[in-house]
């Protein structure tokens, strides 16, 4: 069964535990700049939105990659993998990603994009409010859909 990382901005408190967990998982230190996920906060409106690789089926980063370093995963469904050995650091993927979810890091000569922590995403594990969830693709919007359905239920109860 395929699992996907789901983002629920409505539950995000802007605490950035996801960024800390991600950078710690990859570098065993705390460098949010190395995090593959970023939670942005609009303080006037009090809204926070986490951003990370969407693992596109038809991925621009894969299409433009001249060496095949950026490729559909051969082992995990619904994943785009980056192969450091094949990568020539041309950064075409960085240019191509419309979301800004791939980045080149000069300090480590790496392309930073979400790798799902090989099946155990630490951002989701450390998120205190379940704003990030790693769920079966069949379940991905069930909770959100039901939460909204509950609003209809309440409205129906009021008029019936």
């Amino acid at each position: 069964m395929a699992k996907v990382l789901m983002i629920h901005p409505d539950k995000c408190t802007g605490c950035r535990n996801c960024e800390l967990a991600c950078s710690f998982e990859h570098e065993r230190r705390f460098r949010p700049g190395a995090s593959r996920v970023q939670a942005f906060t609009w303080e006037r409106e009090g809204i926070s939105v986490p951003m990370m690789c969407q693992q596109c089926d038809d991925a621009a980063c894969v299409t433009v990659c001249p060496t095949g370093a950026m490729h559909r995963s051969t082992t995990t469904v619904a994943m785009v993998d980056w192969d450091a050995d094949k990568c020539i650091r041309c950064r075409m993927c960085v240019i191509a990603c419309p979301f800004g979810n791939a980045r080149y890091d000069a300090a480590t000569s790496s392309i930073f994009k979400c790798d799902n922590c090989d099946g155990a995403p630490q951002c989701a594990a450390f998120c205190p409010t379940k704003a990030l969830e790693y769920v079966d693709d069949t379940d991905q919007v069930k909770s959100r859909k039901k939460a909204y359905a509950a609003k209809f239920k309440d409205a129906f109860q009021e008029v019936s």
Partner: protein
């Protein structure tokens, strides 16, 4: 170094000189960071007798070793300086994302000294540090200043700044960061204003490194679970924020009402966390690395009080609510928004208005003095209008913005200022809860609840229980809370994490992060050292045992109603025992033996 970055940034605004210094590892180990390290810097470098608003005072932004890690709810920093509100060694603690960003830029602390010739702001991007002209941002509110500076520097810069209140050096001015988080108390914003420093903006791309990553991870996971499992840290605070306390304190008769003339407010329910959740709550907000998310994003639609922002916290809802006899939560929240925008401490602001209301009640001031504002108890429009006037420094508002002590003293009635060491006491009546009174009286920064939050045991029964009405054992309890809190503040961890997180677990995180083999004993001794350091500085500034007291009202006027009716504070029964247990003489001066034990110089 691990945990610490190992570098302190020093900026002399008079000369424009920027220098870097190495953090001495032994100082780091002994004083930890934030409140402890900042206090050590001030005690080493600033004459306690200086005018707090003169260029000779210094302003230290100091982080802790845990700041910037995923230790739960540990993203804090302290502003340490001589506080102009009451001349104590001030350490004001704030969350948000500013402190961690300073660490990522490479600094444990930034020392600001001297005074700029004209308004400036600091722009720190890793190694690049600029002192920039602030002519275009001077005069602006906190949110507008933040936006303007981000537009001029980096869209994601973390900004700590003063609002108009700090610019005109109101004694209750704070320093705001990330728009809504406050280094609130003792008037630190006025010090920033006195230096012509409007803001500090920072972006960092570096890291906080870990001595033993696997052990640190294990310690953090265990610490997180302790908080998640705690009824307050894991359930009460996330659900209702600090505002959950309004009804709890009212029920024990400890909710100071109408400038502490009573301890019970019949309409308190309208101003509590449950009402806030039902009427105004938009969503929960967390500071950096926080797993509790007690912050409240709120929205008010009521005509005259419209706005969106964060808050109110419990202390704010009390200061503008019960303490002013106001039961309109929309007005309270609006006043909170204005405090954040102008950059004022909500506890001192609301309490100073309450003091003005009592002066009004007694005819000591009239509408002729107040520029026509009707300061009758419960006037919801008046608390908003007064807050605006205070923020603007307008007329009577300018007097109230100097804090209730200067206000009441100016009219010849300092007894109506509900302050300890000239700082407004927060929302727990010392007649209903004996231990917190001892803490107000002995707090090194004046009236304050977060120096020794004995409420945990005396009211919330979190981690232990102590009868709020008895004085026995309160000296020891108070000291235990004060020392643990001082050390905890120094790490960069939030006090609220201790709703679940044990001292031993905190030490486990600190030791595995830094590589120093801290024990709980060494950690608590560091807290004791930080406390005594502050005490010594205050004594040198001119404080004596006579300042370790409470307003006469609390010592002599019994509570007239509520569950603690008839009680007064028996402070006098507790102070001598407190001094002795601290290892101080009968005048409250640390003994030579105590100083030797803590490796402190007299």
């Amino acid at each position: 170094m691990y945990g610490w970055t190992g570098t302190i940034l020093r900026i002399d605004l008079s000369s424009g000189k920027v220098t870097r210094e190495a953090l001495d590892p032994q100082v780091a180990r002994a004083y930890i960071g934030a409140r402890g390290l900042g206090g050590h810097i001030i005690r080493s470098e600033v004459d306690p007798k200086v005018d707090a608003l003169s260029p000779a005072n210094k302003l230290v932004f100091a982080t802790g070793p845990l700041t910037g890690t995923f230790a739960p709810s540990a993203g804090r920093y302290n502003v340490v300086t001589k506080g102009p509100l009451n001349d104590t060694l001030a350490a004001s603690n704030s969350g948000g994302a500013f402190g961690p960003e300073l660490k990522y830029a490479g600094y444990d602390a930034v020392i600001v000294e001297g005074k700029a010739a004209k308004p400036v702001y600091l722009w720190i991007k890793d190694d690049a540090v600029e002192i920039r002209d602030a002519a275009d941002v001077w005069g602006h509110t906190v949110p507008d200043t933040t936006d303007l500076i981000r537009a001029a520097t980096d869209d994601e810069a973390k900004v700590a700044c003063i609002g108009p209140a700090g610019e005109h050096q109101a004694m209750i001015a704070n320093i705001m960061n990330d728009m809504h988080r406050a280094a609130g108390r003792t008037g630190v914003g006025a010090v920033m204003g006195s230096k012509n420093l409007k803001a500090v903006a920072v972006v960092g791309s570096g890291s906080v490194n870990v001595a033993d990553p696997e052990a640190f991870l294990a310690a953090v996971l265990k610490g997180r679970q302790m908080i998640f499992d705690d009824p307050v840290g894991g359930t009460g605070l996330p659900a209702y924020g600090t505002e959950v306390l309004v009804n709890i304190l009212n029920q024990v008769g400890g909710l100071p009402t109408r400038n502490w003339q009573d301890g019970y407010f019949p309409n308190a329910d309208k101003t509590g966390g449950e009402a806030l959740a039902a009427k105004q709550l938009v969503r929960k907000k967390g500071c950096f690395s926080c797993i509790i998310s007690c912050g409240r994003v709120t929205k008010v639609d009521a005509p005259g009080f419209e706005g969106i922002g964060e808050g109110p916290e419990y202390e704010t809802a009390w200061a503008y609510g019960a303490d002013c006899g106001v039961d309109n939560l929309d007005a309270i929240t609006k006043a909170n928004y204005l405090c954040n925008e102008y950059g004022m401490d909500t506890i001192s602001a609301g309490s100073s208005i309450a003091c003005a209301m009592e002066l009004f009640q007694r005819g000591i001031v009239t509408t002729k003095d107040t520029d026509g504002v009707d300061l009758s108890w419960g006037n919801d429009k008046a608390i908003v209008e007064m807050t605006r006037k205070m923020g603007e420094g307008d007329g009577f508002g300018a007097k109230v913005a100097q804090g209730s002590y200067r206000l009441a003293d100016g009219y010849g009635h300092p007894e109506y200022s509900m302050t300890a060491k000239k700082q407004e006491m927060p929302a727990y009546d010392a007649r209903a809860i004996q231990g917190i009174g001892l803490n107000y009286a002995t707090s090194n920064r004046g009236g304050c609840h977060v120096r020794g939050y004995t409420i945990s045991h005396e009211v919330l029964q979190s981690g232990g229980f102590a009868d709020p009405h008895v004085t026995e054992g309160k000296a020891g309890l108070g000291i235990a809370f004060q020392n643990l809190t001082a050390a905890l503040d120094a790490t960069g961890c939030c006090l609220f994490a201790t709703f679940g997180l044990t001292g031993a677990q905190l030490v486990e995180m600190l030791a595995t992060l830094t590589g120093f083999d801290y024990t709980l004993d060494e950690f608590l001794e560091a807290g004791d050292r930080i406390w005594n350091q502050e005490r010594l500085w205050n004594l040198a500034a001119g404080f004596t045992k006579d300042n370790d007291t409470l307003p006469t009202r609390l010592l002599e006027e019994p509570l007239p109603s509520g569950a603690s009716k008839g009680h007064i504070s028996k402070l006098g029964d507790m102070v001598p025992e407190y001094y002795a247990a601290r290892g101080w003489d009968e005048n409250g001066v640390p003994t030579k033996a105590k100083l030797k034990e803590l490796s402190l110089k007299a």
